[in-house]
Structure formats: structure tokens, C-alpha cells
Symmetry: C2
DNA sequence: AATTTATGTCAGTCATGTTGACATATTTTG
DNA sequence: CAAAATATGTCAACATGACTGACATAAATT
């Protein structure tokens, strides 16, 4: 039996999924590395990038929603958010129904930077899909989705769908 | 400036690859999140995890090789490496041909921790592949490979192949 | 013998995360 | 209405893991 041979001694040593661990590490390293040079010119870091990206994708989102997505504390968020607001990349508007809320919007300036950064990443992604041929996009989407915690998965997908709805012009 | 006037341009707004940007973010967030709890108990961080992982996969690797893989400075590496050595997870052996080199090996203790952490990640990966059916592993491997910088790609693949060669005991 | 290489280390800084405590305005609830 | 809960912001202290720059040591190479 094949299964018996594989299960022998090494605990996880020849698990076929090991290559994915490493490929994911290298792919992600290069993927997030692209925007870093651009961010340097603005004296921003990856934290700013993440905030700007999700705000741009979800105009009018609440601070609390952003905290949930990023999985960080409000103190951590506060620092970078303040810089983005002070420098005119993001603006905060009082909620209309609930005036405690500070709804977040990317300014045109913020939108421009967000797109610029996203473009570097979509270029890499599209280059990969061009290499791999049709079906690759769908396969990648399904793989990445399956890698997300199942409890969060629906929320994430709704999140992404919301973003698609918010930007569909052109 | 009421946020309504989205007069600007929409350069990459409806690029189909946008969903991959976000899925990659969430998938990676959950993927690296798994080992974090375990690492907490050892007072280690992700930096330790990465070092231990690659050393375990490449017994006898040079410090310089590790620096190349991790893309960090020797000062950054030095701190976490010292802790791993002091606490008996990694040992350094003088190179035989070149006695300046400190070749790195995981101790049995280090190997055990490395496997424990990897197992959390392979469980997630295998769960995903089980969901997706046959062909998913290959598709994921090809996608992630295509996402790596093409200049590094060969080196990375050689690196992964070396790791596979180093661990096949059963 | 001089230079280069592999590694280590000291010292200071920065970015980004954490906890804990507290403040303020607003909405919801008893 | 008063009290409690909620959304957000802020101060202070601290940890991790990056960074730069300078310098040290031993061994290999020229």
C-alpha cells in the first residue's frame, strides 16, 4: 500500500504540501516587495499600503471594519491612519445614521496612490496568468479561497465582492 | 470634496486581478497565523520560524545562503539565530573545506519544532487540496511559481528541490 | 604580505505591532 | 431621563524585527 509507506517515520518530512509552504513564502515575499520602493518615496510602509488599499476598495467603511480586516489594534491603526489623513490620502466623514462613526474614504490623491501600488501587483499577477494559460486565474482564486479560514471565508468573499461593486466604472 | 466626485481616472479599477491581491492577503494572513500560537509558547516570532524552517530543510547551509533566502541583514539574522542556537534548536559547525563558514543544522529539538509548525501549515494546505480535488496541487504550485521574480525563480526551485532531497527518510 | 571573504558584534534608529488605562461623543436600554 | 453600551481617539510604555554604519576576527585567496 502506498499510504503505509508514506506514513512511516518522518512526521511531516515528505508531506507533498511542503513545497507549497515554501512557494507561498517566496511568492508572497516578491508580491509585497513590488510596492515597497514606491512607498519609500512617500515615507510610507506596508501598513499604510494595507489601510489605503482596503479603504479605497470600500469607500465609507467604518474604522471597526478596517480593524477586523487587518487584525490589528486600534492603536496600531491609529498611527498610520492619522498620517494618511493628515497628508490627504484618506478623509473621514461622520456617519449619517450613527454620528459616532468616522467613515473612511480615499481622496483622489489616495485613490491615485492606491491604484499605482495595485498596478504593480496586478502586473505580476497578470504576467503569471499569461504564462500559465486559461483557467489559471480561476484555479488560483479557488486555491487561495480554500486557504482562508473557513469561518472567515464568507466574510472575506463578501468583502471582496463589495469592493468589486464599489469600483466598477470603465 | 464630498467623496461623491470620483472624477479622476480608473486605471486599474476593474482589473480582473484585483481579487487575487486580496485573496492572497487573506490567505497568507491565515496561513502564517497558524504557527503563531505555538511560537508564542516558545517566546519565538515569525523570524525564528523562518530561520528554523529553512535550516531544517537545508542541513549544513551557510549563513550567507540563509541571508539570501530571507532577504534580511546579518544583524537582523544574528539576533534570532543566536537565540535559536543558545536554546538548542540550531547548531553551528565549522565548515570542513572552509573553516570560516558556520554551517547550520537543526538539532533534534529544532527539527521537532520545525515539523510541528510545518504540520499546522500542511494541514491547511491539504485541507484545501482535498476540497478542490485532483489537479489543485499542481495548479497551485504552478501559480505560486509563476508569481516569483523570474530572476530568482530558478534559484528558489533549486532551493526547494534541495530541501526535498535533504529530508527523504521514512 | 596584503587583500578579500565569511561571520560576528556594538550601537542607534525606525516601523509596526502589543497592553492597559482613560476620554469623549453618541446611541441604546432599562 | 439616567445609565450603560458602543465607536472612536489618545497617552504611555514596551516588544519584535527590520534597518544603517562601523568595526573585529579568522581564514582563504591573491
Amino acid at each position: 500500500m502506498e499510504g503505509a509507506a508514506v506514513a512511516a517515520v518522518a512526521p511531516a518530512g515528505n508531506d507533498a504540501a511542503w513545497d507549497i509552504i515554501e512557494l507561498l513564502f517566496f511568492a508572497y515575499r516578491d508580491f509585497v516587495g513590488d510596492p515597497d520602493e514606491v512607498l519609500l518615496k512617500y515615507a510610507f510602509g506596508r501598513a499604510h499600503h494595507r489601510v489605503l488599499h482596503f479603504v479605497n476598495r470600500n469607500p465609507g467603511m467604518k474604522v471597526a471594519d478596517l480593524l477586523d480586516i487587518l487584525n490589528i489594534t486600534k492603536q496600531s491603526l491609529g498611527r498610520v491612519l492619522k498620517q494618511l489623513v493628515d497628508q490627504g490620502f484618506i478623509l473621514q466623514k461622520e456617519g449619517e445614521q450613527d454620528r459616532r462613526q468616522r467613515l473612511l474614504y480615499a481622496t483622489p490623491k489616495g485613490e491615485a496612490l492606491s491604484y499605482k501600488l495595485a498596478q504593480l501587483q496586478t502586473e505580476r499577477i497578470n504576467r503569471a496568468f499569461a504564462e500559465l494559460g486559461p483557467g489559471a486565474h480561476d484555479a488560483a482564486r479557488r486555491f487561495l479561497t480554500a486557504m482562508i479560514d473557513s469561518d472567515n471565508r464568507e466574510g472575506v468573499l463578501r468583502q471582496i465582492a463589495r469592493g468589486d461593486r464599489a469600483k466598477p466604472r470603465g
